[in-house]
Amino acid sequence: MADTGVLRREWEESFEEIFDGVIDEANPPTPLFQKAYDGAIIATSYAEILLNQAIRRYGPEHPVSYPDTGYFMPVITAYSGEQVTKLGELVPILNRLRNQIREELNFLNARLCGEATAYAAEIIEVLRYIDGENPHVAPWTGFLGDPIVRRYGILLVDWTIPGQAVLVGKAKSSEALGKIVTDLQSKGFMIFMSYEVIDQAIEAGCRLGIDFITFPTGNFTQVIHAVNYALRAGLAFGGITPGAREEQRDYQRRRVRAFVLHFGERDEVQVAAHFAAIFMGFPVLVDHELPEDEQIENWYISHPDYDTMVQVAMEVRGIKLKIVDIPVPFMVAPAFEGEAIRRRDMYLEFGGGRTSSFELVRMVSEDEIEDGKIEVIGPDIDEIEEGSAISAGLDIKIYGRKMQVDFEAVLERRIHDFINYGEGLWHTAQRDIAWYRVSKDCVAGGFKFRHYGDLLIAKFKDEFPAIVDRVQVKIYTDPEKVEENLKIAREVYAERDARLAGLTDESVEEFYSCKLCQSFAPNHVCIVTPERLGLCGAVSWLDGKASYEIDPNGPCEPVKKEGLIDEAKGIWESINEYVYLNSNRTIEECSMYSFIDRPMTSCGCFEAIMGIVPEVNGVMVTTREHGGMTPCGMSFSTLAGSVGGGVQTPGFMGHGRTFILSKKFISADGGLGRLVWLPKELKDWLGDDLNKSAEAQGLGENFADKIADETIGETAEEIMPFLEEKGHPALTMDPLM
């Protein structure tokens, strides 16, 4: 690493080619390079002062880490691979980076200054956490933990989220900034903010925070949290080896479609940080006129027109959006999915167990449907008093040449997402317990009930073009009609449940694969069975089937069950072969029902993860929502860091939350009776279903009460007395190992 000559040669040969010929050698932007150089000096010198002062005060052995991450200091982990855990370890790293700040002013050196500044910022920032306290309050985020990277990282690298916009500085006005943020949000961007754009967004009433994929990280070097987020996406989902700087930058350039929008005056450190972005392949747009010698074509761009700033940034970064124009008086984007509507902001609600509600998707024949028709049966929203809880229901008819009855449930479950995409609309649960809320702002903006129909028709047609040809929607708000149709809906649910109950792994001829994550985790293959949903929790067997119908060349395809090798463990020759061929020939065998013997691999986006607790002869499950320690001695982040990336790790496995309720849940290893520990949140979420599954597996009544959680203990020793007292079955089962 000390030999920068070698480094430079490597770079010139590969990733660095994207910068070739960019600079007009006759007129180089020397003043811009000078600023980057000055900024890198300031940043690294400041980092050095803070670091050595911290070492003086705490000692070189003092631990240093960000909260909730298995990636140490992600900038350092990603670029040079050191897994820093102690203060003293940072000294040689910082010295190495200081040493790459060179006085000669050129583009390459400016990018190296950028890289050095990123390291400096990472060091400056991590030291803010040295006392273990979070220095930020909401909506400011500071460092974003791995759970948040997992929550949105996949969407970022598979381009469901079209890109990452990093907003820095202070715009000409809060209103103008608010427009840009809203525009980006409606396009579904992930947004990072640093400096006064945050205060401006607050003033403009923008929706900020983790739920809106809009992260106000903080000021100054806190912008590095946009970088360490992106780099973790590369490490987690790209499977890029820590320290593979070249590969990492290539991945960032290809998969993380980020750009920087800089508002207002720039200082030296900010310019150096801009070059940290350019170093990763991300362009920078500045909102004011810059002299010629402070611009670099396609990389450092002066663009004062706010109206076209986002568009130009997208063009420069090569981001194209699938435009869906929905005729509704509110914005529709994934950014609003997490928006909560509190009672005081609510105009109206229905369902949720308090009033009657339903939502139903039914397949109909060609002549039973009038495409695009929306009817509201009963009073419309402007005839209902503010603050009311009414009864209501949505009846959606779908016709498609390739539609199947089995897809009804698949489509019906998406109502939840589609409604939540609407700004000012909120939805939870499903079927006859579905709960809807509409905000006051949304109603003030002109919302009528028919807009549920407009939204759903557009989204169903857009997302399922192969199976949805026509859609018709009836919205019932007349209480009598609601009750009448609720009855019909319940009959349909009952029929559907009866049909699904018969749907078992044994009753089908084929499973479905899911390779959706291979865009970022190239060696991982999910096999989805009727009784084992995808580990992300989002793909069921029926989803896989529907996906295949929609696009036979898409992420899911049928995998025949042929050549049974081990019935108990669920190993088939045909499945082994499929997995081997589709994991880039890395996974030779794979069992469906064991987490000990050749378990299925994990991409990194699993909802939950299980791990063996040998001391109690059982298994524990933790979730990405649970930040705390677990009885296997690792937190979710640490577990995820070692299990993800498409490798088999016997004794540990990622899975979907509801897999716990399946009778195929580690059935080869003893099944649900092995489960000794769960986070309380997951236990509550599973509710009585957990007891029902346990009873069905012959584990007796109230099995949930025998399972420990973090209130009982966080180590095997702590939970052992509890398990003994409750007579937990795992203690007397055959040894796991």
Binding site: Q34, K35, D38, I41, I42, S45, Y46, I49, L50, N52, Q53, A54, R56, R57, L127, P135, H136, V137, A138, P139, W140, E196, D199, I202, E203, G209, G218, N219, F220, T221, E265, D267, E268, V269
Partner: protein, 657 residues
């Protein structure tokens, strides 16, 4: 040629003070040279020096950074040279205040030990309050015992060599600041150690890192602040904490029929005695044919005496020589700092005696009285005797410009809190912070610093204050800035009527009303808080505001301005204001822009790290706009953070600034 001569002539009248202009006009052909003439002779001034890129730290130099030679002979770049010069400048300021502080401390020790008889503990209330702030128990202790402990703390803070953090400073700033300074390794261990280290660090071939040098300059500035705070504290204990007082200011305070003594410099230790001696020696003056003796002050000695004794202000720094040219000053007794050597040649044209008193301040041709605290009164009487004998030798026409204004001064932090307490006795400071939060006031601005003939004398001071007052900013002031306001009639209620915006007027009226039984005069437009070491008072006010608002100082809408900064002390003060969290305007560009890197740190990046930052702006109207912008930015952010707290239902408000 004629045009040029005319322009030059016009340029010589670089002042907005009518008294000054009158003297300049009257003496234009006298051949007597003052700073106003020398300023013109000095043009053009060296550009390299102005930019801060002239280095003469070693005698291999001087080196200067040019397009052709972008480094000094040793290889020092512009950023090293500028940063190193900055440290050296601040050291000049810091040592001046340290000198002042140690002088006050040692005098306090002598009071404790009983080796001086002319000084005593005057203000026990302040002594006890100071002890409480320093966590020194007063239970069952004699006042001298308490003072002894405080003196020991101060002496240790001047001299400590064990590397531990200094004691005094963390006691008088909010804990968030202390943590910041500890994290950044700029909390001084002791004042003298910091001075010595910084001096060594800037020797040839030592530090080349601009950030490391700038951080050292900030450590020096904090040592400066500590020195000032110690000086103010012990001066208050020994001479009394100022309370509202009525007096007057400008040349018109001189009286032809009296023996006039100008007291000039920065320290109350000698001048307090001179004022006392003058009061006692009226008979001697009358024997010499005068009606009595009048003292009037110049620079911060003048401020110290105005604040505690109601002694009128004669003039400020730039026009010190002109006071002599009235022909009415019989003696000018000076102590330390800002004494122009030019006063002696001017005095030689008159009967005026210049009397230096400090072993570190001597001027060839002048009288020198080696001042000794143990014989303080005796020395003071000698001064008065010299003045009386000079009075008898008056040899020129006495022409005193008839310019003077009523002055209401004496606003120590304690006095201000006392005034606020009449509105809210439980939380006096909330009277101020509430007025800001409600929008009645746009914030607070400290107007401080010197005169600098690069600007028109007093113009920046006055225009900026008037603009800020019009925009409802509460103004506090010290040093020569405060004297500019005193001389121009801005330290009284008439000025409030004339210049204050509606919000400021309402705020001051409310205070007047609540204090009407206590105050003999209505409150002024600008609150005079004292001498330049008393900037510590102005910052104490900031600390109390931050404590009340429960936030670190960079969030508090409080700015500072040195409209006509000149001395190295001003550079040190400006730096601690920034380090302690204030946007700080300077009306004369200091020698920094020669390095874009150091300039960038001063103007922008300082804000990211410390919360304060500099604003260079020479035009007074634009200056006022920028100060208002800085205050509004803070108020706006505070509002946004408050909004965020409500929207996101967080327990505390964001600590970011």
């Amino acid at each position: 040629m004629a045009d040029k001569a005319k322009k030059k002539k016009k340029d010589r009248n670089r002042s907005v003070d009518p008294a000054v202009l009158e003297i300049l006009e009257r003496t234009k052909d006298s051949g007597i040279e003052t700073a106003y003439d020398r300023y013109l002779k000095m043009q053009p001034q060296c550009n390299y020096g102005e930019q801060g890129i002239c280095c003469h730290i070693c005698i291999q130099g001087p080196c200067r950074i040019t397009r052709r030679a972008d480094k000094g002979i040793c290889g020092a770049t512009a950023y090293t040279i500028v940063a190193r010069n900055l440290v050296r400048h601040e050291l000049g300021g810091c040592t001046a205040h340290a000198d002042h502080g140690i002088h006050s401390t040692l005098l306090a020790r002598e009071v404790v030990e009983g080796t001086v008889t002319d000084y005593k503990i005057t203000d026990t209330k302040k002594l006890h309050a100071l002890a409480e702030r320093m966590d020194v128990s007063i239970e069952g202790k004699e006042d001298k015992e308490i003072l002894k402990e405080l003196v020991e703390i101060a002496i240790e803070d001047f001299n400590r060599l064990d590397g531990k953090d200094m004691y005094w400073l963390p006691k008088v700033i909010v804990p968030e600041r202390t943590k910041k300074f500890q994290d950044c390794n700029i909390l001084p261990s002791s004042i003298h150690r910091t001075i010595a280290d910084a001096m060594a660090q800037t020797h040839v071939g030592m530090d080349a890192d601009p950030v490391n040098l700038v951080f050292k300059s900030l450590e020096v500035s904090l040592a400066d602040y500590a020195g000032e705070h110690i000086a103010t504290s012990f001066s208050d204990v020994l001479f009394g904490t100022p309370e509202p007082v009525v007096s007057e200011a400008n040349m018109g305070v001189l009286d032809e029929d009296y023996v006039n003594i100008a007291v000039h410099g920065h320290n109350p230790i000698l001048s307090e005695m001179v004022v006392q001696a003058a009061r006692e020696m009226k008979d001697e003056a009358q024997e010499a044919g005068a009606k009595g003796i009048k003292c009037a002050g110049i620079c911060c000695t003048g401020n110290e005496l105005l604040m505690r004794q109601g002694v009128p202000i004669l003039t400020n720094y730039a026009s010190q020589e002109l006071a002599i040219m009235t022909g009415a000053v019989d003696a000018m007794v000076v102590d330390i700092q800002c004494i122009m050597p030019g006063i002696q040649p001017v005095a030689e044209c008159y009967h005026t005696r210049i009397i230096t008193t400090s072993p570190s301040v001597k001027i060839p041709g002048s009288y020198h009285l080696d001042f000794d605290e143990s014989r303080a009164m005796e020395k003071a009487r000698e001064v008065v005797e010299i003045a009386i004998s000079a009075y008898k030798e008056r040899n020129k026409e006495v022409v005193i410009p008839q310019v003077k204004h009523k002055v209401v001064a004496g606003f120590s932090t304690e006095a201000l809190l006392d005034i606020f307490a009449a509105v809210n006795p439980d939380r006096p400071i909330s009277v101020l912070t509430d007025a800001i939060l409600s929008g009645e006031l746009r914030g607070v601005c400290l107007l401080c610093g010197c005169n600098n003939l690069k600007r028109i004398h007093d113009e920046n001071h006055i225009v900026i204050a008037q603009e800020l007052a019009k925009n409802d900013v509460l103004l506090v002031s010290t040093g020569c800035a405060a004297q500019a306001y005193a001389k121009s009639g801005m330290l009284n209620w008439d000025a409030v009527e004339e210049y204050a915006g509606e919000g400021l007027k309402a705020f001051l009226s409310r205070l007047n009303e609540a204090n009407k039984d206590k105050l003999v005069e209505k409150l002024p437009l600008v609150f005079h808080m004292g001498s330049c070491v008393d900037n510590s008072r102005a910052y104490d006010l900031m600390t109390y505001m931050a404590e009340e608002l429960q936030m670190d100082t960079p969030k508090v809408p409080y700015a500072a301005s040195a409209p006509e900064a000149m001395s190295e002390k001003a550079i040190a003060i400006g730096s601690w204001l920034v380090t302690l969290g204030l946007p700080t305007h300077v009306g004369v560009v200091p020698p920094i822009p020669g390095s874009q890197l150091v300039d960038g740190i001063a103007l922008q990046i300082a804000h990211d790290v410390y919360g304060g930052y500099f604003i260079w702006e020479t035009d007074p109207h634009k200056s006022a706009e920028k100060i208002l912008e800085a205050l509004d930015e803070r108020t706006w952010k505070l509002k946004m953070h408050q909004k965020a707290k409500e929207t996101y239902e967080t327990e505390t408000i964001s600590a970011t600034w």
